[in-house]
Amino acid sequence: MTTLATQLPTGLWQVDPVHSTAGFAVKHMVVSTFRGRFEDFDARLESVDGGDVRLTGRVRADSIVVKDENLAAHLTAPDFFDTQRYPEILFESTSVSRDGDALIVEGDLTIKGQTRRVRGEGAIVDAHEDPYGNQRIGLSLETAVDRTEFGLNWNAPLPRGGVALANDVKLQLELELVQA
């Protein structure tokens, strides 16, 4: 396949979940960056009417993975994602554009029932054929959100000032997409 570096892929591209990552990073105890990820998610890039391209994503919020099971249980509780009532995190792009290898995606992100417009920036790697004859592309995207805008308000004051958890959270996607 030949693709100009200014063109977005056409057709339908579906996520290879094993070789993709949906993660987050947030400042913890003021000093360090804490990272986690979601195991169960879906994403697709597809051509839509008018020649545009749409990126959509769906994450099972209770598939969150951190290194402590009690922390994972707290993160799925009403203090955080409240996965019993809001089982999915959703994203639907309103615009996808590229400039060379740079990728910009804007769209509506829904977490815990709250929808906010976000803008993610990153990179696109054009199609490459895998050993089985499939075409694959790579998307890297990152955005920052204020978790309290989505109702994830938990925090705890620290003895010497400051709080345990920052409000700003980076959402980081590394997507390997296979042409359908």
């Binding site: 099971e69 009690n70 249980a73 707290h74 799925t76 509780a77 009403p78 203090d79 409240d82 019993q84 009532r85 938990w154 705890a156």
Partner: protein
């Protein structure tokens, strides 16, 4: 709808047990409050005993599991929650993933003979319940001067009585939504 009442005070003439009974009288039709009186029998939490939890712990787990919501009334001991109540919650929190309080609608009220109405203990208790994974109603009801706060089985101050009814109503509404979501 079944609301379980847990009083943080064990004494027979407890203001907080009385506050629970007052809350029970404000519940909307179709909801009833049952006050649990077994907290005094729960031994100190011991991780070694987790898989051999005593009957008193199993009974509380079952009572919470069978309820649609839990209403706590807590006094304030040394600016915090009474030890036996925290101890019972520590038992209930283990293992956290299958805690009967996980996702359970809960609310906290409190009475004390001081001017502050156990407001710190209520905040502490909401924090603990949130950490366990309960669905905590974001409201508090400090009932100060508890020796003089009641008129019969109800709160003497109409505003406090109305606020108690409001919290009980919000708890029942949360429980109804919880039942609808789970269905």
């Amino acid at each position: 709808m079944r609301v379980l009442g847990l009083s943080g005070s064990l004494r027979r003439a407890s203001h907080n047990s009385k506050l629970l009974r007052a809350a029970g009288d404000t519940l909307p039709p179709g909801a009833s409050l049952e006050i649990y009186d077994g907290l005094r029998f729960i031994p100190p939490y011991d991780e070694d005993q987790e898989h051999l939890a005593p009957d008193t712990v199993l009974a509380l787990r079952e009572a919470i599991r069978e309820s649609d919501a839990v209403l706590f009334a807590t006094p304030e001991y040394n600016a915090s929650i009474p030890g036996h109540l925290k101890n019972a919650l520590d038992w209930m929190s283990r293992p956290l993933k299958i805690s009967p309080l996980r996702g359970k609608p809960v609310a906290v009220v409190g009475a004390s003979t001081s001017l502050f109405g156990a407001v710190w203990a209520q905040a502490e208790l909401r924090k603990v319940l949130g950490a366990i994974g309960a669905r905590v109603v974001d409201a508090e009801l400090p009932v100060p001067d508890a020796d003089e706060a009641f008129d019969g089985d109800a709160l003497a101050e109409p505003e406090l009585e109305a606020a108690l009814g409001d919290i009980a109503g919000r708890l029942v509404a949360e429980a109804a939504e919880h039942i609808a979501t789970a269905a």
